[in-house]
């Protein structure tokens, strides 16, 4: 079926594209913004040469956030948390915050349950990544996407 482009539709699309370009150019000149490369560097500082597997880590984040200044985040890891098999640490990273590190939580077998919750700041719509370190030395990661409408760090809270 052929759909005719109405004048209204054309203007909406054109306006949206123009706004997108404008936003992109503003974002490019904004200083102090971490890049996925910076995040990789921060991750390699924690992980070292070890390989990071995907899975076992679950992030709970609201899919749409109105205010990036306080975003509830829960990270849980599937683990029996016994003396021989437990989560040693959970590290949280972001792609587009001014700094890729968010927090590092150190747990042990006495935690009982590998789950931590906090509230974080998000500067932009992005993916939040959590990496856990198990007692056997392996690393596992999980991630969650968030859409942020009001960014933290730049606007007044």
């Amino acid at each position: 079926m052929k759909r005719r482009t109405s004048r209204r539709r054309f203007l909406l699309t054109a306006g949206g594209a123009a706004a997108g370009f404008g936003l992109a150019s503003v974002l490019q000149v904004t200083p102090a913004r971490a890049t996925p490369a910076a995040m990789q560097e921060a991750i390699s500082k924690v992980v070292g040469p070890a390989h990071v597997n995907t899975g076992r880590v679950k992030l709970e984040l609201p899919p749409l956030v109105e205010n990036g200044n306080a975003v509830p985040l829960t990270v849980s890891v599937e683990s029996p948390m016994s003396e021989s098999d437990h989560v040693r640490a959970i590290h949280v990273f972001t792609e587009k915050n001014p700094q890729p590190d968010v927090a590092s939580f150190h747990l042990g077998p006495r935690a009982g349950r590998a789950s931590v919750a906090t509230r974080i700041r998000l500067a932009d719509t992005q993916t939040v990544l959590a990496i856990c370190e198990l007692s056997d030395g392996s690393f596992w990661s999980g991630s969650g996407p968030v859409v942020v409408t009001l960014a933290a760090c730049l606007e007044e809270p």
Partner: protein, 106 residues
Amino acid sequence: MASALINVPARAKRGEIIEVKTLISHPMETGYRRSQLGALIPRDIIRLFVCTYNGTEVFRAELHPAIAANPFIVFSTVATESGTLAFRWTGDKGFSVAESVAITVA
């Protein structure tokens, strides 16, 4: 002055996993914001949070500017014995607050 809120069950069964919720008032100034005059506001955050159970460290968190103001941290621990859970927050500008909560384990 900073004040902390801690939520720990007062009684627990031995071996039970208890949830610990902590909240402390702190601006967590990121160091990336500017004042109205354009000067960079220096960073002022809590960098470390440690929880000890009868002297043994059970949980530690290293925080960065991406933690929201008034850091809220929830974690869990196994109730092993009666005693105290001690909490300490340390950060920039000599910030240091300690709190403790008693727990009875039956």
